[in-house]
Subunit: 135 residues, 4 copies
Amino acid sequence: MSQFVFPVRVYLEDTDAHGMVYNASFFRYLERARTEWLRAHGVDHTFLREQERVVLVLVGTEIKFTRPARLDDMLYITAELSQLKGARFIFEQSVRRESPDGELLCKGTAEVACMDSEQLKARRVPAALLSVLSE
Amino acid sequence: MSQFVFPVRVYLEDTDAHGMVYNASFFRYLERARTEWLRAHGVDHTFLREQERVVLVLVGTEIKFTRPARLDDMLYITAELSQLKGARFIFEQSVRRESPDGELLCKGTAEVACMDSEQLKARRVPAALLSVLSE
Amino acid sequence: MSQFVFPVRVYLEDTDAHGMVYNASFFRYLERARTEWLRAHGVDHTFLREQERVVLVLVGTEIKFTRPARLDDMLYITAELSQLKGARFIFEQSVRRESPDGELLCKGTAEVACMDSEQLKARRVPAALLSVLSE
Amino acid sequence: MSQFVFPVRVYLEDTDAHGMVYNASFFRYLERARTEWLRAHGVDHTFLREQERVVLVLVGTEIKFTRPARLDDMLYITAELSQLKGARFIFEQSVRRESPDGELLCKGTAEVACMDSEQLKARRVPAALLSVLSE
């Protein structure tokens, strides 16, 4: 159950007319970190879809935003798998500024389900995936 | 404390390679509905910023996604103000397919803070805004 | 060869920290207008993909941005099919503010190719589609 | 007049239900590369806005998309300044897959204007900026 930190730069595309990072951009950052966590375990979405016929889909999330992020900020996004059973992954995630130990901007939980790629119904995590994730 | 329903069409921009609406797109939809709820009360972001020197910022959210949305779907997004005190609005929100009473795709809560537009610090909701919102 | 106008509201999601609509948001608007033009002809992407096994893909574009759009603006996006032969559609498009005859913000051309949905190779526009588009 | 290459990973957020990278995502990538080109010259948007009171805004673009990009692809985005006079920058840009010399996916030109950050009117490139860019 490793912690994982992924750096993300804030671009114009991520900001809004209030002069801060738009809320939905944080959900894109959090998903990038989960995807890179997966890749760090040797697995990507394309492999899961084509070889295992599954997709990983966000089915619930709870987030607190404590401080705004700004254009040009360097952010550090964490993804820590706190639970994995049946078809569900629970990730603890956070966003910090400037360094992995920097100011906390956002913190929360993401619940991800393993689903059949055709029918989009929940399906137990394939053994091959379970095995690499627990290494 | 009125309920409000706003229709949203799903475009290619909202979908992802899993063939469904990408999770962050739902947060854009939910924010559109809150913005249109505000507009239905005679207020918009530009007015708030320029006349009242405040911005409304998402500071927390809790969402469950129960079914995927698809390209070309017509969605109905609700925004119901359940609480308003100090600097905080709590909205109950949901997304349904095809009609305002259609299949439930997503449901949750959004906590929005009123902030000073320059310093991005929490600030009591201005009286002028409180007054139109309680009409 | 009909002209078509589609209204779009500017939301926070579309703007950037410069206080204007971010450039890529215009490309989303232009694509929405082309999609609604198609729908006005009785066809949508889901039908094309599932029944005709084709997708319509942007393969080239040339755009001039003449004035910025702002948060809360109401925009009117046109899509006029100027040419359709083989696998290619050429659309003339524009964005105006406040009314379909309002101030011009952006103007250009979009070249869209009809492609096989599996192999993403150019394919002649299906007869069924040609027929509804020329009605 | 240096060439500059910036790597970009394709995430779910960038793709669409056709199974490829959505067209507007390429414009986000191209802008990231121009922003990183600027940063490589020691300048960022925040500095330009706060110190020089200017913003850099896309005012025209011409792009050809020759091949689709896919989820999980590693892309290499170039930004080469081909012209800089008055208030205008012209960039030649391209997107290649897997390596800076890989398969060409997209190629074109971006015209960027230097504008006053308050009034959004064209303004000569500040001397301080011209000087670092010509180093």
